[in-house]
Symmetry: C3
Subunit: 206 residues, 3 copies
């Protein structure tokens, strides 16, 4: 895939993630700066965590100014037009699934390139996809929503694992599309059907 | 500026930040260890985050024992004499503004020296100034106060941006005083007049 | 001590820590993935923070797949059999004290090997022991329990300090047993007698 296309996709994914962070900030009644920081954390947090853990510092997000401008501009747009963004939440969740699938694949490849074992690279690929949302929720003072029954992280791990194996074994790059499709398809079906991850047995989840 | 003066200023800023963390810990009824950890996190957190992100590890805070002793001793003093410190909260906020201005300038310079672009260095300078307070609030279980309408981060970013440009363009070191003054003046006027950052439009912030 | 024995002890400590994280997750009614992530964070968080701060990346936890499999398998066991684990909480706290003592000693040695000063190495040794539990509580949305009067961190610091001095001065390895015993003994006596750390004076802790 061309580098330009990858950069555009990457920035688009960051913008979508950032918009979910900005919406949480608006609902928490944060000020314009808090909304922007929450958007930056959500859009860039997963990749930054991965880069710090593999020792690739400064992280990519700090090497190219576009990685900062895109989520900041997204935050300002959400801040001003939040009622419109709020109404598009369903569509944002679909785009968010696309971003998730993209970041899991690219994150897993980058972690495998750093020489990690297959399991660790899959975990870091998953972290690239879900880390921003986790940090968003912790900073905003709520237990990460992805831990509370919504099926979000399992598709992420599946996609990251497939991508890691493809890279580790040196298979054709076309197989990355499979990794991407596994994560995206699983996540979208879960969204549509309201699938949830298993809750602890024997507790009354009324 | 002489290195000794800079070290003294740095330690003084850390002590002031640490005292705000210790006060939050006392009010949360943490034990003496919790108060100390919260003080260390508040005093050193911003610089440590910056150093980890630019790959300058071990962080400066771990290279010189004074960076650990000063906030720890501050925490113990606040723990014992917290009613007196609590009554000085107004004065502490003024000193906190001085520490903020100092850390934004020195943080931005260090980030620019690491070869980041101007925007990223400004962001890391801001993080150096506000990161400790953010971590303090997250660990203490509250949404960071700097996200809730108080005008704190905007002056920080302004000061960091000016300092980054001064360093990046190689202007005379005297101009750092301007960066410092922009942050400090803006913050103090905001404190005095009760200026707040804009909240999301169309929400009833009663 | 042989490397194999150290690895087995290390993994055992991680499993115990992970089980406390998984139990918190079950009580917060997280899904199976949330429980697993909380277990991974609790089991590995302290060591990962230490490794990132001394620049030893990728962290040891990502270099050997067993460091990921052991806490994940522990999490699944707790998820399924949580009533049984819940009833063993007292025994788990004793094992947790053993893990704490072990991690403080090994963490302090690793930090001292990285060339830090004695105080900083002691702090990082303490962080190796208590960092996972701190992160667990922050992610689970509660103020870290180790900050709220339970005597946990003081024994950790004592053990880490002794271990750092032993390593720094090049004393015989047998003295590590003393560091281990100081932390473990202090913690176990505190558990048994209900010792607590001092709370701020003059506040009614009713």
């Amino acid at each position: 895939m061309s580098d330009t296309l990858l950069l555009v996709l990457d920035l688009a994914g960051i913008a979508v993630f950032a918009s979910t962070g900005a919406l949480v900030g608006v609902r928490k009644e944060l000020d314009v700066f808090g909304v922007t920081v929450l958007a930056l954390i959500t859009g860039l947090g997963g990749g930054v965590l991965r880069d710090v853990l593999i020792g690739s510092v400064p992280p990519a997000a700090l090497e190219d100014w576009r990685y900062l401008v895109v989520p900041a501009a997204t935050a300002l747009a959400v801040f001003v037009f939040h009622p419109a963004f709020g109404r598009m939440e369903r569509q944002i969740m679909v785009l968010d699934a696309v971003g998730l699938a993209l970041f899991c694949v690219t994150g897993a490849v980058k972690a495998d390139e750093a020489g990690l074992n297959v399991l660790a690279a899959s975990v870091l690929g998953t972290l690239s996809g879900i880390g921003g949302g986790m940090l968003r929720d912790v900073v905003a003072g709520r237990v990460p929503v992805i831990f509370r029954g919504e099926l979000y992280a399992t598709p992420a791990f599946a996609g990251a694992f497939v991508a890691t194996v493809v890279h580790h074994e040196g298979y054709s790059e076309w197989w990355y599309a499979l990794a991407f499709a596994v994560c995206l398809g699983w996540r979208l079906i879960a969204l549509k059907r309201g699938w949830t991850a298993p809750l602890p047995p024997g507790i009354d989840h009324a």
